[in-house]
Assembly symmetry: C2
Homo-oligomer: 150 residues x 2
């Protein structure tokens, strides 16, 4: 078969995450959901994605438990797509990608959208990988245990 390779039975959590998200569109849909988009049309206008693609992606995100389809909040008969707790837990992933992008793909002073603390309007602190006892860890300070039962 030539269907795209799946990773949903991998023993690596990174691979399963990647598989669950589906593709880049899905991740940008999630980003827009964090940003307040709820309706099919909002996602479509914001992303410029073809409607058939969006239909499939939304459906797969709902199936994967990342989004949930609920009655529209304005009382109309339409439906809306909102993040589940599992979807909200993707926040750190989105923030990590955002910070990596800011640091590497924008010229100094080049305008870009920015995520800020709602209360103070300030930029966020860069994410840090910490050990159990709070030391800051670089990639070289860590290692992967191939398989563990806990």
């Amino acid at each position: 078969m030539v269907t795209r390779t799946r990773f949903d039975d991998s023993e690596c959590p990174v691979a399963r995450s990647v598989d669950a998200i589906g593709d880049w569109w899905s991740l940008l849909i999630v980003r827009d959901a964090f940003d307040g988009s709820r309706r099919f049309g909002e996602f479509q206008r914001s992303l410029g994605v073809a409607k058939n693609i969006l239909t499939v992606r939304l459906r797969s995100l709902v199936a994967g438990g990342v989004l949930e389809s609920v009655p529209a909040s304005d009382g109309s008969a339409y439906r809306e797509y909102v993040l589940t707790p599992k979807g909200k837990a993707l926040f750190t992933v989105i923030v990590a990608l955002r910070q990596w992008g800011e640091q590497n793909f924008f010229a100094p002073g080049e305008p870009h959208s920015q995520l800020v603390d709602r209360r103070q309007g300030q930029r966020l602190r860069p994410l840090e990988v910490l050990s159990a006892d709070g030391r800051r860890l670089d990639p070289d300070d860590t290692t992967v245990h191939k398989v563990s039962t806990q």
Copy 2:
């Protein structure tokens, strides 16, 4: 045209990151690089990816400045692929995906690979999104400024 949509000129850093990484294979290649893989064959065996796909992905990661092709460390005439500083900065992204996967796609007690602190062999602390003054932020505590010049 029907070519896959690019996001490299988006004003959103998330979109540019997504574009720079390329596809899921690329991200898993980076994961393996963090895990110590360096050689073409190592990536190929570890991922089970077709060699033509791997060739293209490695080339694009090198072109994007995530990996660098260097002479083999064992003195042979072959080459190796190692993470650049930009590539190492993807660490938080990989860790975020790993933690999301661990929390959501493994049954309790189901075996999976695990990233640990090399010094103490302990699991890492969950990533936290923090405000400039150190408060823990949920998605709802943040908002996106659409475009900013700094």
